[in-house]
Symmetry: C2
Subunit: 154 residues, 2 copies
DNA sequence: TAATTGGGTACCATTTTAGTCCTGTATAAA
DNA sequence: TTTATACAGGACTAAAATGGTACCCAATTA
């Protein structure tokens, strides 16, 4: 299904929740309550987001989490790779020259290009977009079609 | 990692192999040999591709597999969904109204839009592109950026 | 009718994922 | 300085998905 893991899904929801109140410091327990998810799981997710540099944490009373930078400077790709590691469709999309089947494969190059296109797309969607109540209007139908078609002839 | 499953990867490689010799009928054993993968696994993959209508099979001596339609009419999205099911980034990208967290989620709509954009991208890449030895040149950097930027203002 | 080749199913091993818990450490307020 | 708050890190377990294998059946052709 090319699906995000559930934790990544949680991460996006939690990040969006924080992004809607950027000034406040958010305790893990409050966030868990707000998004209706088990506290330990949310906590785990938050730690991963801190380690990836997307959130800043403050210990002690009145502590909590806040965005490490403005929501407009945090991308969907950032959130995904914070939880799942780098966005890559295949093994060989990440590290070059480690697949022993490369000789018989014959699709590696093009998969990597598709993978790159998806990564770029995900980098163009920011947390500010995701958190906005106004739906992000991606005019997917025509423009992306035209991109790949022109790409073929190029 | 937003990664394809290994079987999906195999499927793409096998499909590309068949696409390079569209007239011939390809026995599972021959394909397994050509792409250097275990026979039973390749066989399993082939069956899934048949069930999805991407390959046609012929039993008996001189039988084998061939493309059900031209390589230019088979998309990356077809291959992925043949193995993994519909392309969708989150649970709620597929079926509307089944997520009980929708009220507190707040990102569902926009995730669905991103998911749709990726699906459209994958539908624009055909097996003919993947199988081509000439790299598919997707000019990802500028055009896709401009799409999403214009999308925001739209 | 025998040889070839795909079809289907069931099964097992492994890995990944999700979720929980426990203990430690930093901070702030009383 | 004490105490309550809240994050940090890691270990552990349970469950699910994935990948791989084996076996037997069905169809086709020579």
């Amino acid at each position: 299904m090319l699906k995000l893991s559930r934790l990544t899904d949680y991460a996006a929801v939690v990040m969006a929740q924080i992004a809607r109140h950027p000034q406040a410091s958010h305790a893990a327990a409050d966030l868990a309550e707000a998004v209706q998810l088990p506290h330990p799981t949310v906590s785990k997710t938050l730690k991963m987001l801190v380690r990836a540099g997307l959130l800043a944490s403050q210990r002690g009373a009145q502590g909590g989490y806040r965005l490490a930078r403005p929501a407009s400077q945090i991308t969907a790709a950032d959130i995904i790779s914070a939880i799942e590691g780098p966005v890559a469709m295949t093994e060989c999309s990440q590290a070059q020259g480690e697949c022993e089947l490369a000789a018989t494969c014959g699709v590696a190059d093009n998969w990597q290009r598709v993978s790159l296109a998806i990564r770029t797309l995900l980098e163009s969607v920011t947390l500010a977009h995701l958190a906005a109540s106004t739906p992000l209007k991606l005019p997917v139908q025509l423009p992306i079609q035209s991109i790949s078609l022109s790409a073929v002839s190029a």
